[in-house]
Amino acid sequence: MRGLIEDDYVTEEGEFVINMGPQHPSTHGVLHLKVWLDGETVKKVQPHLGYIHRSIEKMSESLSYRNFIFATSRMDYLAAHINNEACALTVEKGLQLEVPDRAKYIRTILAELTRLQSHLLWWGCTGLDLGAVTPFFYAFREREFIMEIMEETCGARLTQNFMVPGGVMYDIHPNFQKRTKEVLSQIKGKFQEYDNIMTGNVIFENRTKGVGFLSKEDAISYGVTGPTARASGVSCDIRKLIPYSAYNQVQFDEILDNGGDCYARYMIRMQEMKQSVSIIEQLIDNIPEGEFQAKTKNVIKLPKGEFYQRVETPRGELGVFIVSDGAASPYRIKYRSPGFSNLSALPLMAKGGKIGDLVAIMSTIDLVIPDIDR
């Protein structure tokens, strides 16, 4: 910390060094950005991490294969289902366990609902960051209905912990299908409203078009994934490339854009929401009958070896890497979180822009800080 404070002065070139965060409304958490400014032009950005490190990876080494999943809800708390699913899939891969079809369908529907609510929250927060307060309330209104589905079926709103090795914890609630269909028809009618209030807005377009350009080559070399990379034209949707759960049963498009700027990233997410709605609609009436959980032993022991599973979270590719030495708890766990790689491209995107653009770039990368710093 001493080094950080000592550097806080005007440099020899006349650049002004300021600290943005760790307590700043536009950083969505405890992200600390050190910004070198020449007037209002950003010369250099340096993210500082470590304010919310909870050592989830190390902690998992002392927990059993059933128990370590709950902690991943606290990584990307807006996509807790998908994080839990990734861990469950990795353990199933190690056990070579066949998951029942019903569990696969439930997992996929819940994951897409999660993606929908995460993108809705992102849409509201982007408006908030760029100076429009009203979209936030509209986004939260629709998100609340999805949260109610989660609460009714899974028992919690954010940290659901509903995925267990072998399937899902409980069968779906009797109201689940009816309520999901209601919410979907409601949300479908609201997309036009979202476009009216934000997408065509002149202030919003001026602040996002041509701002924070990321080229295809840079996106690949920085390991950027998710909607941020797809806005630069990189095809990287894990749901499409390496289908898991029930994604091979559904028809959906991978949205690609060659814009590479904040507006392209915005449009990708807006269209992805529509794709998520269509995926859920294809699955919701066709949930097969049968078991919702495969039989597993009381104490799960993975065979010796290394297991890796990738999933697509709303922010990009999440990888779970488990090294097992044959014991009842993992020898080593590593999470490849999407936010960390996406953040690494932020200094590149922000360089040469204005400090107001930095806020726009940060909000369209969709940073979730506990995911970056586990």
Binding site: N67, G155, A156, I197, V202
Partner: protein, 158 residues
Amino acid sequence: MFLKEYFGTIYKSVKSLLVGMRVTGYYFTHLDEIKTEEYPDNRATLKMFDRFRGEVVMPHDDNNEHRCTGCQACEIACPNGTIKIITKQEILEDGKKKKRIDAFVYHLDLCTMCNLCVVACPSDAIVMAQNFEHSVYDKKQLKKILNMPDSKLMQGVE
């Protein structure tokens, strides 16, 4: 040509703002579409979902009997060390010695409501309650003993 573009931009900008304002105006005049719940004013009518995870409780029947055998499956399943079961030896009527629970200690301040203990319990002795207003002035009150005083194990539960 320049002037045409200039005024065209102004027209488009004003139009986009008006389109946005129409959405806000619609909700300003349609008050019945507001979905806000006014907590805590609605506490009397607020009902949580059956599966909502508020805290772990141990149901007792009318004879002050519970279903916990003290097998400690929940204690092992808990990732945080929230549950601590203290057992005792009890001499039954026929002279046999049996393990029974003395205290089922539950630390609400450590609990993450992950539901793993409820899933692990072989005799359905503990369930999740829907109560969510847990704030207290003293942290000690968050340490709870779930089995009631002088409670007994239900007949037929092993």
